[in-house]
Symmetry: C2
């Protein structure tokens, strides 16, 4: 049996199971969109940040699958404190790009997913049920919604990559949250915690897997140990210099570049004002 | 060719690619641990919260693969603001369980991964490089570390499920962060944002896929629309009642249960004090 036939057999075999999982996730109310999608470990380990896209639109059905994946992520107490706005209109994408520190690759993306921390639906539910809503004013609920939306987005990211797309998270969706909320009609109690550009990678400008810190630096057994951290940072600086050279990038120590990134409030590119923006958007941090 | 032979062919074929990805991720400095691991979409859509475990230990090599997956997640500006502490010592697990609102399934888990938001390594780097570190005092950096660790943990979660384990996120690792930091020797500027229990599912007590809100409730096209939210909540209440009945669980409207969960500060189970705890742990929220 050739590779193509094997893949087809695999596809036929997983198709039914995936369709059933779709039905389970949505209480049988949503259409399924199955097919064999790739190896988990190969997809996850193979992640690369992709900033160069072909102009091809992202399939509506693929977006639906990615959002089903997002909704399949764990959610704290099943509160589901998030939403996503998908933007494919080129003019709106240009306005989002301008609000997100004018990053070039956003202008060129066929799809921007804006991931929303949302306490507004929860507040609506307390109104429907006639309860108080005091818990919503605490840092805890803000944090819960940030974790919820992040787990959801990462499931979407992995799924989109498995479906053959490239992605890039956009933290600068937090740089101008008031204007961005107006652009997307976000209700009070919600905000754009990050964006994600999505598109088919331009094969003329392929991205590479980026090295990370040694595993022992982030993995602590039984208790936290930081005794090798200085040595690990030096080792990783060397690894990154090799990577930068191979990529024809400017060569700079990771630790210096990172330290400069947090040295001053100005380096946060308007995000030093985030707390005030969020308070204006109806969030509290008791 | 039979299914087993097909799987072996698949395994041989992906093995080399996965080994190469490991090498890319760690600058060739870490051992690889390859093998075919399962279909992305089937794994992600098939997520279930597993709280009943067999006593079998979690393979050290599988933990290593899960952490490589975690490190393969996107990281904002590549700052890598997180760590994970893996706890397998049954006595320490019992102490963690006691600190996490005494949840029964934590006592029974063979492994607890405690996911750590960490600005302490970043602060150390500013000391090494002799820069200021003013940016670390802003809500923005706290938020960045929460997103970083969440994306990492979700990659680990998906990978562990692909490797045949069940998992459960533990938000109550935030209920007693001071005592928990002492237990795990966490440095100032770091805290346990959530835990994750891991183990082989007890086949005598299998978990089910939980339904979620209709896709249109969380997916907004071009701009945010909330006009169907009351109707969507009613529909989801009905879906969840069917699910609760099928699972022999107490039947209660999701919207009521959720509203009660945030009605008062007391309902946050000590996490209404989170901000004060974190300030004591060296975090600022400018």
């Amino acid at each position: 049996m050739g590779q193509q036939q094997q893949d087809m057999a695999k596809s036929a075999e997983t198709e039914d199971r995936i369709a059933r999982l779709f039905a389970d996730r949505y209480g049988a109310s949503e259409p399924g969109l199955p097919g064999y999608s790739g190896d988990v470990l190969e997809t996850i380990l193979g992640h690369r940040t992709v900033r160069s896209y072909l102009p091809d639109a992202v399939d509506e059905e693929d977006i639906s699958v990615a959002i089903a994946a997002a909704q399949s992520a764990p959610s704290s107490s099943n509160l589901q404190l998030w939403n996503v706005v998908t933007v494919a209109d080129p003019e709106r994408i240009s306005r989002l790009a301008a609000l997100a520190n004018n990053q070039k690759h956003i202008y060129a993306a066929p799809l921007v997913m804006v991931w929303i921390c949302d306490l507004s639906r929860m507040r609506k539910m307390t109104e429907i049920e006639g309860t108080t809503a005091d818990g919503l004013d605490y840092l805890e609920l803000f944090l819960t919604s940030v974790v919820d939306v992040s787990l959801a987005a990462q499931n979407a990211c992995v799924t989109l990559e498995a479906l053959g797309y490239g992605t890039c998270y956009i933290g600068s969706m937090r740089s101008n949250p008031i204007e961005l909320s107006a652009e997307l009609d976000l209700p009070k109690g919600s905000f754009s915690v990050f964006g994600m550009t999505v598109g088919r990678e331009d094969p003329a400008r392929p991205a590479s897997v980026k090295p990370r810190l040694p595993q022992r630096t982030v993995w602590h057994k039984e208790t936290y140990r930081a005794d090798t951290v200085a040595e690990d940072i030096a080792q990783y600086n060397a690894t990154m210099r090799d990577f930068q050279q191979a990529q024809a990038m400017p060569v700079v120590d990771w630790s210096l570049k990172s330290a400069e990134r947090v040295a001053t409030a100005d380096m946060l590119k308007n995000r030093d004002k985030l707390k005030g923006f969020l308070e204006e958007r109806g969030f509290s941090f008791k």
